[in-house]
Amino acid sequence: MKVDGTKEFDAPAQLVWDVLNDPSKMAKLLPGVESFEIQDDRHWKAAVKIPLGMGGLKLNFNFEKIEERPIEYAKLSSKGQGVGAIVAMETEFNLKPDGERTSMTWSADVRIAGPIGSMGQRVFQPIVNQQVGNVLNALEAQVAEAKGGAGGAEEGIHPGSPEAYSSEPEGPTHSA
């Protein structure tokens, strides 16, 4: 399943780049992170619980930065394994400086395998869209924080209590 979009930041590209490439900040971008371990600047691990109302889906993720051209392009590959599900994800983003602002075009290719993979894609697409929206909102908050902007950077990303996510993500999906 492929999702993509663009996002504008009220911050210079270098700052956005720094946020996106700082694993410790990455931890705060991901939904439901329960633990995060940085191995080196290209590899890190995370235990996450993808929020599902029926109970979180627990996955152990391995991340690898497979390509980067500071400060405009990076490609990240990640694979999460858990009972009943395997999630493989490739994400890319391009940053376009625009004075003090930055526009980011991004895309993600998400594959879900295992028993859950055969359970109604109609639920994955909205879930993925929503999580992407949450990540983008969190990213915006992180950028704002890095920029020393308004507080509340943690708004909407309380690892472990996914239900607290914003209900109307500024994601690629239109939802009511």
Partner: protein, 266 residues
């Protein structure tokens, strides 16, 4: 088919249930179980504690004070189908409940479980959204009542927080409004491909479309076919695609079924 290990509790009161749910991480309320147990069979959901709400009498029952219909969250679809109060106050609820799955499921499944699981294919989320229902949630901190826009947060996600339970659903009585429903399903009464509920009042239609996004999509339009279709088109739906329907087909069905639901209301 085989569930992961879990603890099971069957509280007798809402307060007890709330305490149990708040007391454990990964505690889940079990209503009718017609969705949750199936997800647990795949072990995609593995709650450590299942809090069975079936022992809590106050959560069941249907009352009508003329102006408002109040349905306990643990009221089964069958009870709604057979209810004189529902027939009097808002018959569409019974007409739609009658088409959910099958008799056995209707005998166990509850309106509360239906909206709390908020699977995109579920019948009640769009219906309650169209009827502007209010949902009452109780937690340690007491009670709060929210509208459907606030209640439905995403697929399988609602405003009901850990440590809370949905206690009742309040639906305004029909009055001079007219309600309609239209859907395309896998076979008769099968899984929904797109569901649409509509209520028309003073020439204006409030339409809620299910299975085209993470939550019901609500649009309003004057109650004539062109206006309704235009309004749905204007909503710029980006529906999920699956084995049963492409995004394009769901978008098309949303328009067709919205018009039909409004016609059905007439």
């Amino acid at each position: 088919m085989l569930l992961a290990e879990l603890d099971y509790a069957r509280p007798g009161s809402i307060e007890e249930a709330v305490t149990l749910l708040a007391g454990r991480e990964d505690a889940r309320a079990l209503a009718g179980g017609q969705s949750l147990v199936n997800v647990m069979k795949t072990r995609v959901a593995t709650p450590e504690l299942v809090v069975d709400l079936n022992g809590i009498a106050p959560l069941r029952g249907i009352a009508s004070d003329g102006g408002v219909l109040e349905i306990g969250a643990m009221t089964t679809y069958s009870a709604i189908v057979d209810s004189a109060e529902v027939a009097g106050a808002r018959p569409i609820l019974a007409e739609v409940a009658r088409t959910i799955a099958d008799v056995q499921v209707r005998n166990r499944g509850t309106i509360g479980g239906n909206v709390c699981s908020n699977d995109p294919t579920n019948h009640f989320p769009p219906l309650l959204a169209a009827l502007e229902a209010e949902l009452t949630i109780q937690g340690a901190g007491g009670e709060r009542t929210v509208g459907t826009e606030e209640f439905f947060e995403g697929v399988y996600m609602t405003a009901v927080q850990p440590g809370e339970v949905l206690t009742k659903v309040r639906i305004p009585a029909k009055g001079d409004a007219r309600d309609g429903w239209a859907s395309v399903t896998l076979g008769k009464d099968g899984t929904g491909i797109v569901n649409v509920a509509a209520t028309v009042k003073d020439g204006t239609a409030r339409i809620a479309i299910g299975c085209v996004a993470a939550t019901p999509v609500v649009v309003t339009a004057s109650a004539d076919e062109t206006a309704v279709k235009d309004a749905v088109r204007a909503a710029g739906l980006d529906p999920p695609a699956d084995v049963h329907a492409s995004a394009e087909y769901r978008r098309h069905l949303a328009e067709v079924l919205a018009a039909r639901a409004v016609r059905d209301a007439a």
